[in-house]
């Protein structure tokens, strides 16, 4: 028995969520009175692996080589399976990212395990193994009891704190234990560089149709850059091509739970709120005092975005 946590990397560097994941998995292992093992798949520097030493892991398993140079769901799930077998894990924790959401169900199917995606709490082990997650697109929460001896869960980004301890960690390469599989071929990867991916952002500045046109997004990007935020938008804005689809949040877009969500010129339709209402602090700037978004906001400014946002930018510059 062990808890196994999968640490995802992007081009050799662990993702930002990694420390949240390891802390979560360490706390889960402590609750169960068992050891914590991490697995890294793909080619990651030794120095990067070393960053995991501060989390009380008993071991890091690595799986490297040409076959794992790019993410492929089936291949990666086989790799994860090899790690599960190697350390005898019964609980497997992944990040609720695009890749984590591909691998989690696959490993769960291999083990016929209980599966919960988008967990936001530590398992309650007093009565079974109960994990909390948002359902109905943030309109409620469910407590799911994972009754199978194998349990796979994916943890939401920004849902758990980070706690570093001290220590060293042993590394073991198990690449030769992975069965190969016929899989997809990756032809091309296009990724925005130098910007915080929305799915990982702790702070988000978002704008809607109230901005009138794509030419007015300069101030949104400037504010976001100044505070180190990602940018997002409402559905109609990405539908008409003012902003890329990867920025669309809501019921039919991305669901995010950043520490701060600033919404500019967005009315706050129920489908939009579905994707952002679990943000920790919500600020709304809208010229219509009746805009429904104010009911979901912590802070509100009733005013014209074209006057308010430049003043916000000035104010941020003054504190820096």
């Amino acid at each position: 028995m062990a808890v196994l946590v999968y640490i995802e990397n992007w081009e050799g560097k662990f993702k930002k969520q990694s420390k949240e994941l390891v802390t979560y998995a360490a706390d889960t292992a402590a609750k169960l009175g068992t050891e914590l093992v991490a697995v890294s798949i793909g080619n990651v520097d030794a120095a990067e692996i070393e960053t995991l030493s501060a989390f009380g892991l008993s071991k890091v398993l690595t799986i490297t080589g040409e076959a794992f140079a790019q993410f492929k769901a089936k291949t990666y799930a086989n790799a994860l399976h090899a790690a599960v077998q190697h350390c005898g894990a019964k609980v497997i924790v992944l990040g609720n990212t695009y890749n984590g959401k591909s691998m989690g169900p696959r490993i769960a199917a291999k083990l016929e395990a209980s599966l919960v995606t988008g967990a936001i709490s530590l398992p309650d082990t007093d009565n079974g193994f109960v994990v909390k997650k948002a359902v109905f697109s943030n309109k409620g929460f469910a407590f799911m009891d994972m009754q199978h001896e194998y349990k796979v869960l994916t943890l939401n980004v920004n849902a758990y704190h980070i706690e570093e301890k001290s220590g060293a960690v042993a590394v073991e390469d198990i690449s030769d234990k992975v069965a190969t599989a016929a899989d997809v071929q990756v032809l091309n990867v296009e990724k925005q560089t130098g910007k915080i991916p929305l799915t990982e952002a702790e702070l988000v500045v978002s704008a809607g149709r109230g901005l009138k046109g794509p030419e007015n997004w300069g101030m949104i990007e400037e504010l976001a850059d100044l505070i180190g935020a990602g940018t997002a938008c409402s559905k109609p804005v990405s539908d008409v091509g003012w902003r890329p689809h990867s920025e669309h949040v809501g019921q039919t877009g991305i669901t995010i739970s950043p520490n701060l969500y600033i919404a500019v010129g967005i009315s706050g339709a129920i489908q939009h709120l579905a994707g952002v209402s679990s943000s920790k602090v919500i600020c709304v700037i809208n010229k219509d005092p009746e805009a429904p978004f104010f009911a979901a906001a912590d802070y509100g400014i009733v005013g014209d975005a074209f006057e308010v946002v430049p003043k916000l930018i000035e104010a941020v510059k003054n504190i820096n």
């Binding site: 993410f71 769901a73 089936k74 695009y98 890749n99 959401k101 591909s102 691998m103 989690g104 169900p105 696959r106 199917a109 395990a113 209980s114 599966l115 995606t117 909390k132 359902v135 109905f136 697109s137 943030n138 309109k139 409620g140 929460f141 469910a142 799911m144 009891d145 009754q147 997809v184 990756v186 032809l187 091309n188 990867v189 296009e190 990724k191 990982e200 702070l203 180190g228 935020a229 689809h245 990867s246 019921q251 701060l260 579905a274 209402s277 602090v281 600020c283 979901a296 912590d298 802070y299 509100g300 400014i301 009733v302 005013g303 014209d304 006057e307 308010v308 916000l312 104010a315 941020v316």
Partner: protein
């Protein structure tokens, strides 16, 4: 070519969700149900394969008789066959296992799902199916072109997208960019009424059980800041909340 689209029945996107007084179940009184929005996009792509490549299109649902309306909607849009596995869906793993058992000896070339159902937001059925059927999978797929037995696809990744190539058979889960939802036509609506739905009585063990629900904590009233002094907001976020 044989295409399978997995469809689920979900509350309308504008529905307010309420729970029973003991919080042990969802109160569905007065709730309007729809075909899960993402499944509409999956269905649209499947229709394109039917029109361009003469694919035979089957839709499948795990659900009780209440689901017949969404299967009929798919008929009205153009689905050839409709299958319902007559079981209350309790978990994504159960749904996937039932569909995998059905699909195992049917040699589907493409299996489409939505990226998630908007009730339990599992986002798991597609990948579970792929593993159960030992097929490659493309999650969060926004584009797909098929030529012969080869598909070229685009999927979302964090902060971007990726283009891939895969051999059929494969499992694809749709985001809204995959296909523009179809509006049923008159002929389809007429046919949909009489087309038979194949109903199968099957079930498998469920081992992930929802014990309890909780409503979101209502937000405290919004604190308004005067539009003439927006810098006050920055002060609060920076000094008090220490967000940046």
């Amino acid at each position: 070519m044989k295409v399978l689209v997995c469809i689920s029945k979900t509350p309308d996107t504008t529905t307010k969700i309420a729970f029973s007084s003991d919080h042990a179940s969802v109160n569905y009184d007065g709730v309007k149900f729809i075909l899960n929005p993402y499944d509409e996009h999956a269905l649209a792509k499947a229709m394109e394969l039917k029109e361009k490549q003469g694919a035979e299109l089957t839709v499948i649902n795990v659900g009780t008789a209440d689901s017949d309306q969404i299967i009929r909607k798919c008929f009205a849009v153009g689905a050839d066959k409709g299958v319902r596995i007559n079981t209350e869906p309790m978990s994504g793993t159960q749904v996937a296992r039932l569909i995998a058992n059905y699909a195992a000896n049917q040699s589907f070339d493409v299996i489409l799902t939505g990226r998630e159902s908007i009730d339990y937001n599992g986002g798991m059925v597609g990948e579970l199916l792929a593993e159960m059927l030992d097929m490659p999978s493309i999650g969060y797929c926004s584009k797909m072109e098929i030529e012969g037995n080869k598909a070229t696809l685009t999927r979302f990744i964090d902060g971007g997208e990726e283009t891939l190539e895969a051999l059929l058979p494969l499992v694809v889960s749709a985001v809204k960019e995959l296909g523009e939802p179809r509006i049923p036509n008159m002929r389809g609506i007429m046919q949909a009424r009489t087309k038979p739905i194949e109903v199968l009585d099957e079930n498998v063990e469920v081992h992930t059980v929802t014990k309890q629900y909780e409503a979101p904590v209502p937000k405290a009233a919004c604190v308004y800041i005067d539009a003439s002094e927006p810098e006050k907001l920055i002060e609060i976020l920076h000094n008090e909340k220490k967000l940046f």
